[in-house]
Symmetry: C2
């Protein structure tokens, strides 16, 4: 394999010395970039874009052509697994992702099986290989999946939502059914992420978008436990190089200690927590990724720079910090503001790593 | 004034001994009750219901006729103040509350003024008096308002939302403008809640529905600070009886210590935090209200009872706990499940108060 020319992100995730704080942006290949919209228009729609390795490669590389980001992230959707299970993922205008055939009875739940990454999810593996080739070692490639609970939300509700009536009714009234779904999802995510690693993903991340909607106790039982199973089943290195794992539960700040305990290398943070406080709580155990409010990117470059500085200062000296937003970048972000963010992180962070060489 | 026949809630909020844990439900007069829907149909729509003291009294008392709740809560909307400021509150089917004339420029912001509770908000004061009369001392009446920041979200965005693009752009780019709005809102809420107290509200609560969308630092500067101003300006007693104040920031679990420090008597909790842990963190300072996930009410009475027991056990012995949901009751809740909840709290909590008489 090609040697990584910029391995700053890998080192930060492993808490090894770095010269500056690495930065990437969740949803960095997205609608705020005109070139992304152009490619998407050529592909037809979002799902066609995801399912074409050539188009996925093209859009994955677009933000790197604009900004000196320290990572590429596979262009894909968090819901590829339930789609591969046959639930029929589609995107409805203004509604976000939906499933044509959500799980509606026990028979459907018991009929679920783990998709074969080499078959139903082959297009993802092909995209990973093609992106790795196109990157040519420039920066590491991050692979990812939705968490078992987040996948289950969509599988049971048929869509994202704010009330989670179906899945929470199942959680409280028929917990064994939900555990059955989650057990399969955990196996599916493990297999899927390991296949991404085999295909070339150098870091993997689990997006637990909806775990924060659970109670403190239900979170541990129905979301965290299954992410722990995944982490335990992941290949921890490939070609002799460590493959760090990142876990991100949006709204999980109260549960940091529990999350940091599942064996992941890094924990993602949203903007509701002071990153310095988070470091005090769990920073001996894991690296931290975050945590700028994406809305800061609606303000001027001067203000963006000031907010970046606050986060860098709060984290303080030393490695173990990956700069990111606390959620995906908004489609309404002016690209020059993303540029200002990356520039500010790279420039201002050097003083916090002056002890390293 | 009539003597309170059931002052359990008042005592719990003041951390005085009680015989059992009092319970009420956010949005307890609402669409899950057939009689509410019938009254609302007679009134025409939600806003007409709010604006008619007779109808508001009728629906406020409906849940008390079904369940032995320990409080009534004024039937009203959190957005009455901006409506009284002239922004034109309306409800769009499936969209929630919206404003016809959201704040769109600096002139409009500088033209804002504090509404007179005896004029534009007279209908609320009339409802409070009429409900107090109808209650005849049975249980205390809770008055309320939205928090300054939550009001500002709707005033600037024109609606509730998930991205808060307008208000967060203002927050980061033009903080002085947002502070101007929030300063007026804080005065308006203080005046409004004091007028509710004069009219008969025996407890007041501030609903900070959207404060949890802020960063840790922005929350303190743009939401908590203004709730502190309100608390400092509230009448702390009326007719010689203390009037406790409750503050509830949904998603504010990480900031509990800061919230408990603003001088309120009680802090509302959503279901993401273990109430025993919350008590350890701030229970010397404030009473705690919460914190069952409203989705538990979709399960069977047996499961509801078990979940109630977990919360009571986690809080432990002694006063200072008001049982509630961590968010408003869902319109899809079977009323018999709300009955099971109230029954479970009243029955199971007695053992935790056996030291008091």
């Amino acid at each position: 394999m090609t040697i990584l020319k910029n391995d700053t992100l890998l080192r930060a995730l492993l808490k090894q010395p770095v010269e500056y704080t690495p930065v990437w942006l969740m949803r960095q290949a997205g609608r705020y970039l005109a070139e992304y919209n152009a490619t998407r228009a050529r592909a037809g729609d979002f799902l066609s874009l995801c399912k074409s390795p050539a188009f996925a490669t093209e859009v994955t590389l677009q933000p790197l052509a604009r900004f000196p980001l320290d990572a590429a992230i596979l262009f894909s959707d968090i819901l590829t697994i339930p789609d591969a299970m046959g639930l029929g993922l589609y995107f409805s205008q203004g509604e976000g992702p939906m499933f044509e055939r959500p799980l509606r009875n026990e028979n459907e739940i018991h009929a679920l099986s783990v998709p074969d990454p080499a078959a139903e999810l082959r297009y993802v593996m092909d995209a990973v290989s093609e992106i790795r080739k196109a990157l040519d070692g420039r920066v590491p490639l991050i692979g990812f999946s939705g968490s078992p609970f987040t996948l289950a939300c969509y599988m049971v509700e048929g869509r994202g939502g704010t009330e989670f009536r179906e899945i929470k009714t199942m959680l409280y009234q028929r917990p064994e059914l939900l555990h059955h779904i989650l057990g399969i999802n955990a196996k599916a995510v493990t297999t899927y992420l390991n296949a991404q690693i085999e295909s070339g993903a150098q870091i993997v991340m689990i997006f637990d978008t909806w775990g924060g909607a659970l109670s403190h106790a239900a979170y541990r039982e129905f979301s965290l436990q299954y992410m722990q199973q995944i982490i335990a089943g992941l290949k921890r290195q490939h070609d002799g190089i460590p493959v760090p794992g990142i876990v991100f539960t949006k709204g999980g700040g109260l549960w940091l200690e529990a999350i940091a305990d599942i064996g992941c290398d890094a924990v993602g943070l949203d903007w509701t927590i002071d990153i310095g406080e988070a470091r005090q709580r769990v920073g001996m155990k894991v690296a931290l990724q975050g945590n700028l409010d994406p809305s800061v990117l609606f303000a001027s470059p001067e203000i963006i720079t000031a907010e970046v500085k606050k986060i860098l200062t709060s984290y303080g000296n030393g490695s173990g910090h990956v700069f990111n937003l606390g959620h995906g970048i908004s489609q309404f972000t002016p690209p020059e503001n993303a540029a200002a963010l990356v520039e500010a992180v790279h420039t201002l962070s050097r003083e916090f790593h002056s002890g390293s060489t």
